[in-house]
Amino acid sequence: MAAFLFSRFLQSAILLVIVSIIGFLVLYLMPGGPLSQYALDPGMTQEDIARITEQLGLNRPLYVQYLDWVWSLLQGDWGTSFRDGSPVTQVIARHVPATLLLMGSSTVIAVAVGTWIGVRGATHRYSGFDYIATVGAMIALSIPTFWFGLIGIYIFALRLDWLPAGNMYTIGDGSVLNYLHHLILPSIVLALVHIAIWSRFMRTATLDAISQDFVKTARAKGVSERRVVMKHVVGNALLPMITLAGVQVPSLLTGALVTETVFTWPGMGRLFLDSLGYSDYPVVMGLLMFSALLTIVANLCADIAVALVDPRIRLA
């Protein structure tokens, strides 16, 4: 197990270095830069821009900037936002709660609904429900999240006026109910794709579990169908889902990027787009590393969990 863990950690570290180099190069080599937003400011001269460039250290050779950034990062300093003037960790931390709230609620919806659809589809194979679930999943996977978002806003916010069109809460009303009201549409939209994925995987895993001998034995012993499904089938079918969860968590973050934009949700996705628009290098790099770290850690956790459950994996 130790060798397995060491190998996985080493791979993760190398991956992080590669991500950081590529991210840094792509970002810093883009023409323009963070100060181009001041180009049309009356009274701000090219001299001013050159002075600020020097103060920010942006005129140094790229490799020096990179090494400096890595050195600071290793010491726990993620840099300072050009746009905001506060430490990158603080900037990201300010946006994390909004994203976590969105991701958390959509994960709960996706897992609950996806599991139910998957299990029901498998236990009622080739039924009307199964066909509808299959077609629904295909549609959800084929259509971009932003489209769902816009349609949702059009129907539920503009036409029916049931739900707010965006924002995390109404200014002046910080009640839990108000937050929940604003959370419904974006979390459902973000959950849709994941419901589709989760339900398809769950259906396959459930079918696989149903065909196992212990299920047949349980049935033969006269255990009720409901108990068979809940205790023996679902429990075992959920095991392969650990790997899926490892992939799904980071992809939720990607989905949040689009959803947050559509619903003016003040989370990390919006922060990423805004920071990219302003070429706020330290924040973009911070978010990139955060996202890479999340992906790697989630996958690592999934690998370890699976390895713990199934010893054959770690020996492979």
Binding site: G32, S36, A39, L40, R83, V91, L158, G172, G277
Partner: protein, 555 residues
């Protein structure tokens, strides 16, 4: 939004004045002659209610001396004060100062080099500390501190020998006479010495995330990426504030911004405003006031003067003649913007109304080129001495109205044998070295020329301001005319307003004749606010609609 209509009685000095000047005497005697009872037009005696301003960009810079964008100004104007402020008419009036220095009142020496500013003695910082001349000295010195990441330093770099005469009086000397400085000071917010001088590094001071000012509103709370809430400063030295809470709400999507204005979630559409395509519909909304406000920004086609093809004045004239400007305004921009012949805003006292008017005449344009020896080549594109009348035009990708205008102009130019190729770039690329170092051939761009209301445009038109020639400034068209240089230098050291008017009108005349840029239209913003939000007054001499939020109230 809380629209509290419980207006209490009590007239402030300003309200009384307003009433008197606007025929208020009649209003007091015969309230029914006015649309509303007279008392409803009066600000409440204490701050009441909340105003939510919708912005399409997020304010993130709260130290107003550090590099920031227009949207940050709205916050700065509410939290801080400058020595002076500019009225919508372009008049500079005292703010933290008690008077505007002039040669007549002894605030300025005859040669314009010595300045003396008298300050108010009743101003307090939000933390209760008194505001003094030491704060002004600290602020002016901080801007030119090489270790401080200051925004623009123009004007401030000329200040020498700052002396605090008393807590309410400060003097300094200018390295050379610089008349625009008064206007620059109206956008220079004074910061508290007692807080920032203590900071280890003012660039990273906690103050920058929770500023303390002398303005009408105090820092409240911030939900990053969503909104910023300011609260009324009950000890404000000036008029107002009349609202309890001023909220800046960040809504990045323009359509969503407009939708939330329509649905009532925001009370006032701030920076970015209502897009021209929504103007007609917005006007018809119930309980909303929608108005057009001309701004100082001019949309034009900048011609890089070093390009051989643009060095021929006949070409520049022909290109201007061949633009169907009216169609661009009426059809592509929904008739919202206004026509313009000069960089000077029409609202400016220095505006020259006597410039030749643009005409769209393809026949005349073609004749001009014929006369100048530009003859059609084998492919129909004109050429002269081996130079083809062909150039590229660039603007920012995604600006669809500009892109449509480009295509429209491209077609009309083709009719007179001129080839205009379109090469657009993302904003971050366009406004980088490509623009700053004049690497473009021609560019479609909206430029604000003035700082505050001062007519000085040295930064844009003086030959020493060409960055591509190692100059200091933003003369991106690389325009050079010794006569304009001379007039600009004269204008900057002239304090007499009438003399300055003559100088800048002459400059406008020469530039209109030289055509280093082809004016397309004057920006006009569509302002929208809820009915009942009183005290709102657009001011095209500032970069923000919130420059006077202290006077807003729910009527």
């Amino acid at each position: 939004m809380t629209k509290d209509k419980s207006v209490k009685s009590g007239f402030t000095r300003r309200a009384t004045l307003r009433m008197m000047t606007a025929g208020g005497a009649v209003g007091l005697l015969v309230p029914s002659m006015l649309g509303k009872p007279a008392f409803a037009q009066t600000p409440p005696s204490e701050p009441t209610g909340r105003v939510v301003v919708g912005l399409s960009q997020e304010p993130t810079v709260f130290n107003p001396l550090m590099p920031h964008i227009e949207t940050d100004d709205g916050v700065a104007f509410s939290i801080f004060d400058a020595l002076f402020r500019i009225t919508p008419d372009g008049e500079i009036v005292p703010n933290l100062a008690t008077e505007v220095p002039t040669i007549e009142n002894g605030g300025l020496s005859e040669d314009g080099l010595s300045w003396r500013i008298k300050l108010r003695d009743d101003v307090k910082w939000h933390d209760g500390e008194p505001f003094t001349a030491e704060d002004v000295k600290f602020t002016l010195e901080l801007i030119t501190d090489p270790n401080f990441r200051a925004w623009r330093t123009a004007g401030h770099v000329l200040v020498r020998d700052i002396e605090v005469v008393s807590p309410t009086e400060i003097t300094w000397r200018m390295e050379e006479p610089f008349a625009p400085y008064l206007s620059f000071l109206s956008e220079t917010f004074i910061l508290p010495k007692h807080i920032l001088a203590e900071a280890e590094d003012p660039n990273d001071a906690p103050f920058n995330q929770a500023p303390v000012g002398t303005g009408a509103f105090k820092w409240g709370s911030r939900q990053a990426g969503d909104n910023l809430q300011l609260v009324a400063n009950l000890e404000y030295h000036g008029d107002g504030p009349y609202i309890e809470q001023l909220v800046f709400k960040y809504i990045p999507d323009m359509t969503v911004l407009y939708t939330q204005f329509r649905s009532g979630e925001i009370d006032l559409v701030g920076q970015a405003y209502i897009t021209p395509d929504n103007y007609e519909e917005a006007k018809s909304l119930d309980e909303r006031v929608v108005e057009l406000v001309p701004r100082g920004t001019l949309e034009s086609i900048y011609l890089n003067q070093t390009l051989p093809v643009f060095q021929d004045k006949a070409v520049r004239e022909a290109l201007y003649l061949a633009i169907d400007r009216k169609s661009i305004i009426d059809l592509l921009n929904f008739g919202v913007p206004g026509e313009a012949e000069t960089f000077m805003p029409e609202t400016s006292a220095y505006y020259n109304p006597d410039l030749p008017k643009h005409e769209f005449d393809l026949h005349k344009a073609a004749s001009l080129l014929d006369e100048a020896g530009w003859t059609p080549g084998s492919d129909g594109i004109r050429e002269k001495d081996g130079v083809r009348l062909s150039f590229t035009n660039s603007t920012t990708t995604g600006a669809h109205l500009r892109e449509q205008a480009q295509q429209f102009i491209q077609q009309t130019y083709a009719q007179i044998g001129v080839e205009m190729k379109i090469e657009n770039l993302p904003p971050a690329v366009m406004w980088g070295e490509f623009w700053g170092q004049s690497q473009f051939e021609s560019a479609m761009v909206g430029i604000t020329y003035l700082i505050g209301a001062d007519p000085d445009v040295t930064n844009r038109f003086h030959s020493k301001a060409i960055a591509a020639d190692s100059g200091s400034g933003s003369n991106n068209a690389r325009y050079s005319n010794p006569e304009v240089d001379k007039l600009l230098e004269e204008g900057a050291r002239t304090f007499d307003i009438e003399k300055r008017k003559a100088i800048y009108k002459e400059i406008q005349g020469i530039i209109r004749d030289d055509l280093p840029f082809l004016p397309l239209f004057r920006y006009t913003n569509v302002f929208g606010r809820k009915e009942g939000l009183e005290g709102f007054e657009a001011n095209s001499n500032t970069r923000t609609e919130s420059s006077h939020a202290a006077l807003w109230y729910w009527g």
